[in-house]
C-alpha cells in the first residue's frame, strides 16, 4: 500500500516555441495514492494535458522522474499499457465503425478485461451498440472514448477533460463510472475545468498554473486554507468612477477583496453577519447605492480564483498572461 499509483519528481517539459521555448511543465512533484480519485485543475494552457500525457507514456519529459504503478516507461512500457486506461482530450474515431466494433477492436489489445457489452454498459451506451460513430452526439462520442479506456479493466484510469461538452445527466453518469472504479479500489486521474466536478468527485486536487502546482490537497482543505467560509458578492449602481477593490478590504471580518470581471466586487468573509452591516455602512457613507448583494459558501472555484487571479474558464485565451489584461479592459470600459 505504500507504493503510490503515480510518482512524479521534478518533472519538466519544454516545447520549442516560435519565439522562445515554452516551459509547459515547470518542475512538478506529485504522488497519487492507489485507490484515490485525483483531480488536476488549471486554466487553459496550464500544462495539464502535457503532464497527463507524460504519465500516459505519450510524451517524453524534458527532465524528471516518472513512475506509474511502480514501473518506468523506458523499461516497462508494455506492462504499464496493459494496466492503464486512457481517454484523451477529444479523439476522433473512424466514422464508419459501430460502437460495438470499436470497443471489440480495443478489447483485442488487452490480455484481460471487460466484455464489450460490460464496457458499453458502464457508460450507458447500450442503445447505441450498433450505431456508427458518425451518428453519435459529441457527448456520446466522449462516453465511447471512456468505454474504450475501460475495456481493459485498468488499475489506473486517465481522463483528460472527460465531461467537457456533456449535458448534466451524462456528466452525472460519468461521475458514477468514476465512483464505481474508485469503489473497486482503482485509481483515477482526471483533469477538469469544472470546480463542482472536482469538489464532488475528487479525494484530492492539485491546482496547476504555468506548469507548476500552486496548491494541493483535498477540496475541503483548500477551501479552508482560503480562510473565510463565505463569499459576499455585490454590485454598485451607476457607471461613474468605481472605488478600488481594497477600499473594502479593511472592513470588519473581510479577509480578501477582489474586483470581478463583470464590474462587481467579491469579498471573502469569515462572519457575514458582521461584514455585511459594515459594508452597508461604508457604502452609505460614501454615497454609493447598492445594485445587488448575494452571499454563498466558498467553493473550489474561489480557491482557484484567489490562487491564480482568474477564473478557470476565463475566455479561452491560450496565453495565460492575457487573462488579467482582459479584466482590466472590462473595468476601464465601464469606468469610461
Amino acid at each position: 500500500m505504500s507504493q503510490p499509483a503515480v510518482r512524479v519528481r521534478n518533472l519538466t517539459k519544454q516545447y520549442p516555441g516560435r519565439d522562445a521555448p515554452v516551459l509547459a511543465v515547470n518542475g512538478i512533484d506529485l504522488d497519487i495514492r492507489v485507490g484515490e480519485c485525483f483531480g488536476l485543475l488549471g486554466p487553459n494552457g496550464a500544462g495539464k494535458t502535457t503532464t497527463v500525457e507524460i504519465l500516459e507514456g505519450l510524451n517524453e519529459p524534458t527532465s524528471g522522474e516518472v513512475e506509474v504503478l511502480g514501473l518506468r516507461w523506458g523499461t516497462n512500457g508494455r506492462e504499464i499499457r496493459e494496466r492503464i486506461g486512457v481517454t484523451l482530450q477529444a479523439t476522433r474515431f473512424p466514422e464508419k465503425e459501430t460502437v460495438r466494433e470499436l470497443v471489440t477492436l480495443f478489447r483485442s489489445f488487452y490480455r484481460s478485461g471487460l466484455t464489450c457489452e460490460e464496457a458499453i454498459g458502464k457508460v450507458a451506451l447500450e442503445s447505441k451498440l450498433n450505431a456508427f460513430v458518425e451518428q453519435l452526439s459529441g457527448g456520446q462520442q466522449q462516453r465511447l472514448a471512456v468505454a474504450i479506456a475501460l475495456v481493459g479493466d485498468p488499475e489506473l484510469l486517465f481522463l483528460d477533460e472527460p465531461t467537457t461538452g456533456l449535458d448534466p445527466q451524462s456528466r452525472r453518469q460519468l461521475w458514477d463510472v468514476v465512483r464505481d472504479l474508485r469503489d473497486r479500489g482503482r485509481t483515477v486521474l482526471l483533469t477538469t475545468h469544472y470546480m463542482e466536478e472536482a469538489e464532488r468527485l475528487c479525494d484530492r486536487v492539485a491546482v496547476i498554473d504555468h506548469g507548476k502546482i500552486i496548491a494541493l490537497g483535498s477540496p475541503a482543505e483548500l477551501i479552508s486554507r482560503l480562510g473565510g467560509d463565505h463569499i459576499v458578492e455585490f454590485g454598485l449602481i451607476g457607471d461613474g468612477e468605481m472605488p478600488p477593490a481594497d477600499a473594502f478590504s479593511g472592513l470588519e471580518s473581510v479577509l480578501q477583496s477582489r474586483l470581478e470581471g463583470d464590474g462587481g466586487y467579491s469579498l471573502t468573509v469569515s462572519e457575514p453577519h458582521r461584514a455585511i452591516p459594515a459594508l452597508l455602512a461604508e457604502l452609505d457613507r460614501s454615497g454609493l447605492p447598492l445594485a445587488r448583494l448575494t452571499t454563498r459558501h466558498v467553493s473550489l472555484e474561489d480557491v482557484f480564483v484567489s490562487l491564480t487571479g482568474r477564473h478557470l474558464r476565463d475566455g479561452d485565451s491560450e496565453s495565460t498572461a492575457d487573462a488579467p489584461r482582459t479584466r482590466r479592459r472590462g473595468r476601464s470600459r465601464r469606468a469610461g
Partner: protein, 365 residues
C-alpha cells in the same frame, strides 16, 4: 490468427472502413472505369468526320457543287470496299453570298471559304487560317476533289493500312496505366492520407496508449491495402477484356505479383509522407508533389519515351514508370518473370528504402 487477435481486428476495421464509404469506392473503382470508358471512346477508330466548307455563290459555284456531289456519291457507294482511301471524308458545302461567307470565316464559324471562277481550268481561291488544322485538311481534301474533277490523274496507286489490331490501340495502352495509377493512388490515399487523418484525430495516440502491438497496426493497414488491390485489378482487367477486347497475353499471377510490388512501393512512399505530417494541407501538398510528376512523366496517358533523353534516367527511376512498363509488357506482350526482373528490382528498392526511412521517422503522437 484468431478472431480476437489484434491483427485480425485491426485488419477487419480497415476493410469495414473502406467498403462503408461509397464516395471512396467511387474514386477508387468508379473513376478509373469512367476514365477508361471516356478515353477509350474518344480515341476509338471511326470513319473520318465530314469536312464542312463555305462556297461563295458565284459563276463557278454550281460546277464545284456538282464535283463535290459526285465525289460524295462515289464515297458513299464504295463504302466498305477495300480500295477507298479512308482518310477521305465526305464534304458538306454551304453556298453563301460572299459577304456572309467571309464574316463566317472571320468569326470562326467556318474553316474554309472557296471561291471558284467559271470554267474547269479557271483559278480557285481558298481562304483559311493555316494555323487551324481542320482548315488545312479541308483545303487538301477539296483541292484533290476539284483537281481530279478537272482531269488530274494520280499515276501511282496508293493504299493505306490502318492499325486497329487489339493490343496496339490507345485503350490497350491506357488500361495497364490505369492499373498502375490505382496502385499509386492507393498508397497515397489509403496509407499516407489515412495515417495523417488518424494522427490529426488523435486516433494514433489513442491506439498507442494501449498495449496494441505497433507492428500489427502497420501490418493490418498494409494487408488491407493489398487486399483492395485484387478488386482494383480485377475490375480494370475485366473492363479491358469485356468492353474493349483487350488481349491479356501474359500470366495473370505475374500481373498480380507486379501490381503487389508496385503497391508496396507506393505504400512505402505513403508511409514516408505520413511519418511526421500532422496537417491535411501538408499531406495534400506532399501527395501532389509525389503524384503530379508521375502522372505527367511516367507514360500513363502517352508514351514516356517522348521526353528528351536527358530526362530519361529520372523518368525511368520513377516507380510509376516501372510499374506501367512492366504491366504493359506482361499484358500486351506476354512478358515473363525474367523480362520484368528489372522493374521488380527497382520497385523493390523503392519499397525497402521508403519503409526503412518511414519506420525510423514515424511518429505516433
Amino acid at each position: 490468427m484468431g478472431r480476437s487477435s489484434p491483427l485480425f481486428q485491426l485488419y477487419l476495421t480497415r476493410l469495414r472502413e473502406f467498403y462503408r464509404q461509397p464516395a471512396r469506392i467511387f474514386w477508387v473503382y468508379g473513376f478509373p472505369i469512367l476514365l477508361a470508358i471516356v478515353l477509350g471512346l474518344a480515341f476509338k477508330n471511326r470513319p473520318p468526320e465530314p469536312v464542312a466548307v463555305d462556297l461563295i455563290d458565284g459563276d463557278g459555284a454550281s460546277a464545284v457543287e456538282t464535283s463535290i456531289d459526285t465525289y460524295n456519291a462515289r464515297l458513299h457507294s464504295s463504302e466498305g470496299t477495300k480500295n477507298v482511301r479512308r482518310d477521305r471524308p465526305p464534304i458538306l458545302v454551304h453556298k453563301l453570298p460572299e459577304a456572309e461567307a467571309l464574316k463566317r470565316l472571320r468569326t470562326g464559324k467556318t474553316a474554309l471559304v472557296v471561291l471558284a471562277d467559271a470554267g474547269k481550268s479557271q483559278p480557285v481561291t481558298y481562304r483559311f487560317d493555316p494555323t487551324r488544322p481542320e482548315a488545312t485538311i479541308a483545303r487538301r481534301v477539296i483541292d484533290d476533289v476539284l483537281q481530279e474533277a478537272a482531269g488530274r490523274t494520280n499515276p501511282r496507286p496508293a493504299e493505306d493500312l490502318y492499325v486497329t489490331e487489339p493490343g496496339s490501340r490507345y485503350i490497350d495502352f491506357l488500361i495497364p496505366g490505369l492499373i498502375a495509377i490505382n496502385a499509386m493512388g492507393g498508397g497515397m490515399w489509403g496509407i499516407g492520407f489515412l495515417l495523417v487523418n488518424y494522427r490529426i484525430g488523435k486516433l494514433l495516440k489513442c491506439l498507442v496508449a494501449t498495449p496494441m502491438p505497433k507492428r500489427d497496426f502497420l501490418l493490418a493497414v498494409m494487408g488491407a491495402r493489398l487486399t483492395f488491390l485484387i478488386p482494383d485489378l480485377t475490375i480494370l482487367l475485366l473492363l479491358g477484356k469485356l468492353m474493349f477486347d483487350m488481349p491479356i497475353r501474359g500470366n495473370v499471377a505475374l500481373i498480380l505479383l507486379v501490381d503487389v510490388f508496385g503497391a508496396l512501393a507506393f505504400a512505402g512512399i505513403g508511409l514516408l509522407i505520413a511519418s511526421r505530417t500532422s496537417t491535411t494541407e501538408t499531406v495534400s501538398g506532399l501527395m501532389n508533389l509525389v503524384m503530379l510528376p508521375m502522372w505527367l512523366f511516367s507514360g500513363v496517358f502517352f508514351s514516356a519515351e517522348r521526353f528528351p533523353a536527358a530526362a530519361q534516367p529520372f523518368i525511368q527511376a520513377l516507380p510509376l514508370t516501372q510499374l506501367v512498363q512492366a504491366l504493359r509488357a506482361i499484358i500486351l506482350e506476354g512478358a515473363g518473370l525474367f523480362d520484368v526482373a528489372i522493374p521488380l528490382l527497382i520497385l523493390g528498392a523503392w519499397t525497402v528504402v521508403t519503409f526503412y526511412l518511414a519506420l525510423r521517422l514515424f511518429r505516433w503522437t
